[in-house]
Amino acid sequence: MSLIAITEVKKRFGDNEVLKGISIDVAPGEVVAIIGKSGSGKSTLLRCINGLETIDEGSIVVAGAQFLPDEVHLKALRLKVGMIFQQFNLFPHLTAGGNVMLSQMVVKKTPKKDAEAVARKMLDRVGLAHKFDALPDELSGGQQQRVAIARALAMQPIALLCDEITSALDPELVAEVLAVVKELAAEGMTLVMVTHEMRFARDVCSRVVFMHQGRVHEIGAPEDVFSNPRTPELRQFLGVQ
């Protein structure tokens, strides 16, 4: 049974149809990479799964939580899927620990002491236990992104969505973030990630989705997609002939 079921999803911004009927099923524990040119709709698709964009047609169901645009359904959906952003989006007025604690206390009404224990555990998991009291501005980009991952993990989601999480990082900081993601994947976390890290996609992902002009153009195991691209569009995207 699939954990995330995306069925015939269509999304328009005005006259511009960005998603033209997307269907993808993600099984528990799967790591799916979404690749494609900018404007192909990959980020929009990810944002739809988290309810940050509404959809015009089709359905998205995550572990039984149907995406409907009202507060109750959105909350149920977002408790199941965490999201990590390109720009980290840490809360600048809170320490790393505070960032990880906040939503536990506000949304789940976890007592402060328990939230702090979870925060310390999650920061430790991303290798930043010693930065509990640091403000976001005192952290490097890679560290900020790892705090963002810890913050999403603290809500105990059953899947994580990663929206180009290494694209805003200096090259030497990419590895530390990918290492954390790789570890999560090894622990069995379901991941859907929009990424430009082709080598990472090839090494870690169980499936690769190539999106082109709002459609799933090719989908398959990384060996197939990267080694035997069937369509000229994917061949061009990968830069192979």
Binding site: L74, G82, M83, F85, N89, H93, V107, L135, D137, M155
Partner: protein, 223 residues
């Protein structure tokens, strides 16, 4: 010039002056706390609140920002009793200052909210916060930090503007100065003393607000 300066009245008038200072301080304390609270509520409505409430708040804000403070004060103290709403001079003065600062601070705070990067709201939402929770816990403090200097100035302006409440016989510092001057006929001395007291109060208030800002906002957070 043969004018002889005389400050000997100062000792005898000290109790009146001190009472005036107390009332002015009290007015600005209550005015600032409730005025800014009202401003935050109105800013939330204008930036993120329910559609039906927006025109109500917009009308209030424009009404206050485009009419003189003295007229607002007169309306509350002399006008409202016609509708059976009566209050003491001090209550009327407090209310006028809260209503006035509420409108101005609404617009200042709204600017701070609207300068928030969209990613902050989205991060809150993706963590399953409701829009209001995201506003309250995520957006508000950095928004206030952004506009704190402007808000502090507005609070000082309201404190200085509170001098006009003497017009409805609220016994503030200006009322005290007028009272003393009408007894000793030492206009120059009386008003230079009250001027210096206002100056000291304004500097003190700015220091307090800067200190409060230092407590509320972490040093390095600047986004």
């Amino acid at each position: 010039m043969t004018y002889q300066f005389d400050f000997s009245w100062l000792i005898g008038s000290l109790p009146v002056l001190l009472k005036g200072i107390r009332i002015t301080a009290q007015l600005i304390l209550i005015g600032a706390v409730f005025g800014v609270a009202l401003g935050i509520a109105c800013a939330w409505v204008r930036a993120l609140g329910p559609k039906w409430l927006k025109p109500v708040v917009a009308t209030y804000v424009e009404l206050i920002r485009n009419t003189p403070f003295l007229i607002q004060l007169f309306f509350i103290f002399f006008g409202l009793p016609s509708l059976g709403i009566r209050m003491s001079e001090l209550t009327a003065a407090n209310l006028a200052m809260i209503v006035n600062l509420g409108a101005y601070s609404c617009e200042i705070i709204r600017a701070g909210i609207q300068a928030t990067p969209r990613g902050q709201f989205e991060a809150g939402a993706s963590l399953a916060m409701t829009p209001f929770q995201a506003f309250w816990h995520v957006v508000l403090v950095p928004a206030l930090q952004r506009i704190w200097p402007a808000l502090s100035s507005q609070i000082v302006i309201v404190m200085l503007g509170s001098a006009v409440v003497s017009q409805i016989a609220a016994e503030d510092l200006t009322f005290a100065a007028n009272f003393i001057q009408s007894r000793n006929f030492r206009a120059f001395e009386t008003y230079i003393v009250s001027t210096l007291i206002y100056l000291a109060l304004a500097i003190l208030l700015r220091q307090l607000l800067a200190g409060l800002g230092g407590m509320l906002f972490p040093r390095k957070a600047s986004r």
